[in-house]
Symmetry: C3
Subunit: 355 residues, 3 copies
């Protein structure tokens, strides 16, 4: 389905410098694009590839237009403009509507007539599958769970009983929404299970990555607000609340009853303890551990960068004695102050102790 540059410029409100009748049919990287492809430049890391690109057109910031040898489509937000163009060139494939042979849908479930249920998928009693939804192959939708319109479980997704998804929610394979939270009470003879009687509520336009887990609440619900985007292999524990439009990279874990603000950006493999509050617009860099509430928006870090193993070993051995080292420095300062005092009778200039 080729589109001309003129069509793209008009539909996406972009200024075109180039031949409006030139057709493009696919996307490509600057380096590998041919005349039939559209490319983009958003990450300055790739700017050096601009001069040699053979792309049919490049979506980029107006300030860089002069560096491109061919046609350009100008946008202050070239990545977003590219995303919209790519979505037009690569429409999501249609899914089969109706209930596939090999699916199991309880007669007490409601499936919209224009929704689809793939082979080997299972929909339990009382579940409601909204208009234009797709329950992909091998997925499971538990009793009384609900999918808002245009939601899609790609394949092998688990939606446990009573979980409610908004509209246009996209869930990738292997994700598990609504498994029991990790609630245990200790008794002398071992741990007993605390029933997890809440559910999970997921807002509109949420995307949930492959093999990510979002646990159901202990009493009240776990909540993921609209526009949240979760990458793969993320753990969201019971009664967490994630504010609207927050994005979280892969392998991050959030412990129970923590509230994450809106529009946060959380890096990969971050760990957040339970019962905390993270302010709106907080940024956490990768592999950070958060063990106290962060009430002030800002950028926070917590992981040491890698080093050659031999030097690392020396430094990390010293870390075990860092408190002692600080005390020794204080002792040196005191000693020198005493000596100086004896010689010079000058005033103490503060001990620098900072705990």
């Amino acid at each position: 389905m080729p589109l001309t540059l003129g069509e793209l410029a008009v539909r996406h409100g972009l200024e075109l410098r180039g031949d409006p009748d030139h057709p493009v049919s696919r996307v490509a990287t600057l380096r590998n694009a041919g005349p039939d492809a559209i490319a983009f430049l958003a990450n300055p890391r790739y700017r050096h590839q601009l001069a040699a690109t053979r792309a049919g057109a490049v979506v980029l910031d107006p300030s860089l237009a002069g560096e491109c040898p061919g046609a350009v489509l100008l946008s202050r937000n070239p990545y977003a403009a590219y995303a919209r163009i790519a979505a037009e060139l690569y429409p999501a494939p249609p899914f089969p509507t109706g209930i596939s042979h090999g699916a199991s849908v309880d007669p007490r479930a409601e499936v919209a007539p224009d929704a689809g249920v793939g082979p080997s998928a299972v929909v339990e009693a009382g579940a409601r599958i909204g208009p234009r939804c797709y329950v992909g192959p091998g997925s499971f939708v538990g009793a009384h769970a609900e999918l808002g319109e245009d939601s899609r479980l790609v394949a092998r997704v688990t939606i446990c009983h009573g979980v409610v998804l908004g509209k246009r929610v996209l869930v990738h394979p292997g994700a598990v929404i609504g498994a029991d939270g990790f609630g245990l009470a200790r008794e002398p003879e071992g741990w007993i299970k605390v029933p997890q009687t809440g559910a999970v509520r997921i807002g509109d336009d949420v995307e949930i990555g492959a093999n990510t887990t979002v646990d159901r609440g202990a009493i009240e619900d776990t909540v993921i607000e609209e526009g949240v985007k979760l990458d793969n292999l993320i753990q969201v524990a019971h009664n967490v609340r994630i504010g609207a439009h927050t994005v979280i990279a892969a392998c991050t874990g959030i412990s129970g009853s923590t509230t994450i603000g809106r529009r946060c950006m959380i890096g990969g493999a971050v760990g957040i303890a339970g019962h905390l509050e993270i302010a709106d617009d907080t940024v956490l860099t990768g592999m950070t551990m958060v063990s106290r509430s962060l009430r002030k928006p800002g950028v926070y870090s917590g992981a040491l960068p890698t080093d050659e193993a031999a030097r690392w070993r020396r430094n990390s051995a010293r870390f075990r004695h860092l408190d002692e080292l600080a005390r020794r420095v204080k002792a040196l300062e005191d000693r020198l102050d005493r000596d100086d005092g004896g010689r010079q009778e000058r005033g103490n200039d503060g001990d620098g102790e900072d705990e």
Copy 2:
């Protein structure tokens, strides 16, 4: 199924202060409970909510009874008492017995007559599904695997061939028990696979979280003893042994052939190297790396708390030179000792070197 406070007091051995005929039918948080709900107070963080609660009754420690405006059920372990009451108010839904239409059960498998196999589940030859077990929708039970009585695979669980589960084992969606351990031998032309000929044995009353993986043993079995509770997205490598009643939070990884003691409490995203021994009753806080055996019970930590990114960068840059910093401090001490010695002829007070 409402129950009266009197019934609850009697069945769970709790002292009631309040109207024994008052009925409750659900659980709720202190803040949101109404007269039909039972609430509890176990975490002191929520004590301030007690005075205003409208709960039909609150389960709490006797010492706090005076702070509650309404009925109370007294327990020295209110969280456990609450768990038992909640289990009574929210009994696990019954599952369909028999083999669902759409399940595949090999005729050489044994399925107890009062067990259930859900739609799209697969049970291979020689597998044994015990009394009152449920093999949930989309689950897989490999050849010669066994489920002890009252065990439940919620949905989309994988139990590989030869794995043995005890009684009352609960496995959440996406968990994989008995995949091959990561055994590789290096040869000049690459890595060759080392057959993983052991299995996994899981004790009674074990709970395994969503998308958690427990690998089969290389030669002997991987073992999870009775009462162990594993959260989501945990990796248990081949030939690990986890002692009875140990609990492990999400995203933790345990490398091969490590033995974890009994009643340990392991935080989230902990990493434990291979071939180690962790003593009974060890506590590991979140994101800790364990690279040596911990033979003495105690609380261990290993993750630095997050900080503002700018300050973090300055401090972590210094970390790369910590060994050098320690040497410089030592040099200062020596220098001062020499100076002092020259002036005062006093003895050296030890060099503080501590490696």
Copy 3:
């Protein structure tokens, strides 16, 4: 299927010291082996078990032959020799060929006649399943995906549309290959999805662990070269390239567009940022964070070892002031230099400042 020691020696090119007619039928650990079992010694940690072993034969390095009371099979690489022997004693069980009752295979898919598709598996239109492949129970193979000959999806594996697997690829349960990469463009009103139009290409002899996720590329493909071995619960983001024969332990995450070299060994729970290059033959120890390219082969580390919690707290509190501590040490050095200068007029010996 017992084999004699003589047969094993001949087939695997090993020197035998012992009775060539002695039969063995299984593998066992040194400690628990009986006369019918073959054992091996590769890890020096277990050398002390050699003297008391009752194994029918032990595969070990020639230098240790004298320490074994019974028969030995000598190899300079005993672990690899053991692996080959074990593979012979424990051949992979044959799988049923043909399309199982309860599988859903689109008539436009191509399945080799000697391939197998298990119950509840789904194969979409245009997919190609090569000779002697097995699409295990509950697995999903999306449209136009391809499996090279002798590849095996153990059970409940997801292969998304257009993903291409080489020959002899082994994928463990719950793995998801080809889910959308995490591509988002920010707009004032939230994030919009960037279509992920690339696929995943996986070379020959690759093994992928349980619940591991490998995302499809944004424009070009994500690539895993031949002989790569991935453990469980690993995240490989879009457009990552992993060089041939690299091995990666569980729980590691690799961010988008990073290139990992050949023959690297990456420990568990490592985190690697995006757009980096890691040199061939790089070794990363467990829980390391890599935030810059590593262009020189070597061993790199980045995780602090655990410590008793009380001492850890003192040291990590000091870490928050490490930059200041370094400045104080510098100030002491300067002060002493000034003092010495006044007394001795000796030259400054350098300030040791090292940033």
